[in-house]
Symmetry: C2
Subunit: 364 residues, 2 copies
C-alpha cells in the first residue's frame, strides 16, 4: 500500500524519515546491543536521549533561562487538573473559553473549588473565533488560554498581555511558531500532534511558578517533584521521549521553528485560498481573524448557505479512495477538517487542494 496522506487531528502524521529511523534503530539502538525501549531509565543510553530532548527543546524553542522543561505523562487532560493543583493559591483565576478543551480545563478547575471566572467566550458563535479584547485582571493566581482549538480551527495570532501569570494549553500548536516567552508563564502540550507520539506531555514553565511545594497535592502531581528529579521521578515514557527527541532533531535539521512556521503559513494559505476562491462551494468555519494554521475546518454549502452533509460525506469517501484520510470534522461541528501539523508537507496539501478543485467542478 502506498503511504496515505494523513490529515488526522492527532495522533497525526509523522515525517516518513523519522518512521524509517525508528525502524532502523528499534532492534539495536545505535550499536548498543539493545533497543532504547529495553534500556533502563537510569542508564547512560537512555539518559543521553532524555537530556538531549530537553536541551534541544530549549534551544530550538528559544526557552529563556528562567524557565524549566518537564516531560510528564497523562496528556493535556491531566494538566487541566495539575495546573490548578499546583498554581492556585487561594486567589482568583480567569479563563478564556475558546472551545471544548478550554471548557474541559474549566470543568476540572471547578471540581477543585477554585475561585474562577470565564472572562471571554466565543461559545455563542459556535467557537468560530478567538474572543476579542481579552483583558485579564492584574492580580490573578493565573490566567488561562488555549492557543489553538483543534475542533473549531481557531488560533491566537498573539497571546494576550497580562500582568498575571499566563497558562497556555498549546497541545495543538506547540513548536509550530516561535513563542513570545515574555507573555507566557506556563505552556503545556501533549506531544501527539506536533511533537511526536501520544504518551508524553511537555510542560515549559517559569521556574518560580512551579518550584513551590504544595503539601496537599499528591506527590506525583506536583511540578516540584518532577522538577527536582529532572522528569525522572518515576519511569518516564521512554519511547515517546525518544520520538520527541527525533522530532526536535528533525525540526532543527530543516531550519528550526521559524522555518517550520514559514512552511505552516504556506500550507495553510494554499488551503484557505482554495476555500476562499471556491465561490462559496467551500466555506471556512473559523472567522478569518482567527483562522488556525494547524486545523482548517470547512463545510460544503448548498446554494442557500446551509451545509450539504451529503456532499461532505461523498467528499470524504472519494478523498479516502485517493489515499487522503482523517478529513472528517469533529462530531461536535461536523463538516470537514484538514490538520496541517508540522509533519504534513506541502505536497500533501497540494494533493488535497487539487482534489478539492476537481470535486467542486464535478459537484457544483
Amino acid at each position: 500500500m502506498s503511504r496515505k496522506v494523513n490529515f488526522s487531528a492527532g495522533p497525526s502524521t509523522l515525517p516518513k524519515e523519522i518512521l524509517e529511523q525508528i525502524r532502523d534503530e528499534i532492534v539495536d539502538f545505535r550499536g548498543e546491543g539493545l533497543s532504547i525501549i529495553e534500556a533502563s531509565h537510569r542508564s547512560k543510553v537512555y539518559d543521553d536521549i532524555h537530556s538531549e530532548a530537553i536541551s534541544l527543546l530549549r534551544e530550538i524553542y528559544k526557552i529563556p533561562e528562567d524557565f524549566e522543561v518537564l516531560l510528564l505523562q497523562g496528556g493535556a487532560s491531566l494538566q487541566f487538573a495539575m495546573v490548578p493543583m499546583n498554581l492556585y493559591r487561594g486567589g482568583k483565576v480567569e479563563f478564556v473559553d475558546s472551545g471544548s478543551w478550554s471548557s474541559k480545563a474549566i470543568k476540572e478547575a471547578k471540581i477543585q473549588n477554585i475561585n474562577f471566572e470565564t472572562i471571554a467566550s466565543s461559545k455563542e458563535t459556535s467557537y468560530d473565533r478567538i474572543p476579542e479584547n481579552i483583558e485579564f485582571s492584574d492580580d490573578l493566581d493565573y490566567a488561562y488560554i488555549t492557543s489553538n482549538n483543534t475542533i473549531y480551527g481557531t488560533e491566537y495570532r498573539e497571546f494576550p498581555e497580562t500582568k498575571s501569570p499566563l497558562v497556555v494549553d498549546a497541545s495543538s500548536d506547540i513548536l509550530s511558531y516561535q513563542v513570545d516567552w515574555s507573555r507566557v508563564d506556563l505552556l503545556f502540550a501533549g506531544a501527539q500532534k506536533n511533537a511526536g507520539v501520544a504518551g508524553v506531555t511537555v510542560v515549559v514553565a517559569r521556574r518560580e511558578l512551579i518550584e513551590r511545594e504544595s503539601s496537599k497535592t499528591p506527590i506525583i502531581l506536583r511540578y516540584k517533584t518532577h522538577l527536582d528529579k529532572n522528569s525522572l521521578y518515576n519511569t518516564p515514557p521512554v519511547f515517546a521521549i525518544y520520538t520527541l527527541n527525533l522530532i526536535l532533531n528533525w525540526i532543527k535539521s530543516i531550519g528550526g521553528v521559524d522555518e517550520v512556521h514559514r512552511r505552516n503559513q504556506q500550507k495553510a494559505k494554499l488551503l484557505y485560498d482554495t476555500i476562499d476562491s471556491s465561490g462559496g462551494f467551500y466555506v471556512g468555519h473559523a472567522d478569518k481573524s482567527s483562522r488556525s494554521l494547524m486545523n482548517v475546518t470547512f463545510n460544503i454549502k448548498n446554494g442557500d448557505g446551509s451545509n450539504n452533509s451529503e456532499l461532505e460525506a461523498k467528499f470524504i469517501k472519494e478523498a479516502t479512495k485517493l489515499g487522503m484520510v482523517g478529513l472528517k470534522g469533529h462530531r461536535s461541528i461536523g463538516g470537514l477538517r484538514a490538520s496541517l501539523y508540522n509533519a504534513m508537507d506541502i505536497d500533501g496539501v497540494k494533493q488535497l487542494t487539487q482534489f478539492m478543485d476537481n470535486f467542486k467542478s464535478k459537484n457544483l
Copy 2:
C-alpha cells in the same frame, strides 16, 4: 554489536521477535499506508489494537466477568495517588510495607489524609522477606500489598485472604503467574517490566469497586471516567498499548501464563541453585521463604560474612564485558541483582550462571 543479555529491573528486556515485529510494522502498519503511531485513536485501525489488548488480557490472565480492565498513563506512581482518591470512603485502610514501593504508596495515602495503618512491615530486616501472618481487618475500605518487591527481590507466594477489598501493586510480576482473582479486587501494574514498555499502566478491578463517581476527585483521575470511555477518555499512549498487545499475543503463542510461570520457575531455580551451591561465595538477600521469581538479589561475601563490594564491582565489570548488563543492585541495598522477567530466556540465565561459576573459581 551482538545482542546484550539485559537483566535490568525495568524498563527491561523484550522478546527479540517482538522488536523485529515492531521494526517490520512501524513504517507501514499491516498494509494500512501509515504507522500505528500516526493513526487517530478514534480510527478502526487503532481501535482494533486497543480492543484486542483488553480482550487478550482478559483471556490469558483469566480475568473474571465482574472485573474491568483499564489502560491508563502515569505509571504505578500515579496509582499510589489514584487508589485512595477513588477507593477511600472515609473508613480505614491497612497496608503491608514490604519495601520502597509500598512505602511510596503509604506516603501518597498519608497526603490524602486518610485513616490508615501499616499492619505489617519487614523494614527491620532490610525488607528481606514478605511479612508473615498478615491479618487484615474485615471492614476496611481496602487492604494494600505489593506483590513483588523489585529492589529487595521478595515476592508473595500467595495473596493474603481478607474480607476487605484487596489492592495489589503487581508492577513487577504482572502476567508472570496466574492470579487467584478470588483474593484480589484491584490489581495495577506499569507495563515496562512484564507487559511491554513504559507509558501504559494496566488496572484490573472489580467493577463495583471502581464504578463509583467521586465528585471531589479530578475527572481525569477517576476510574469511572476511564471505565465509561473504555480507556479512550483522552488520547491513549498508542505505542505502549500496541506493544502491550504484542506481548499478550506472544504470551498466548508460547502457551499462556501457566507456561510463562513454568519458565520463570525454571529460570529462578537455576540462578538460586547457583547461589545456594556456591559455598557462601554468593548469598541471596531475600529470605528463602520470600524469594522472588522476578528479581534475584544477592551479594558476594567475604569469609567473615561481610559484603565484598570490591568483588561485586569486578563482577559487574566483567559481566558487562561479556554482554550481560543491568546486574547492579539498587543503590538502597547495593550488591547484585538479576531481573528475570517473562522476556528473559533460559539461555540468558545459563550464560549468567556459567559466568558466576567461573567468576567464583577465579576469585575464591
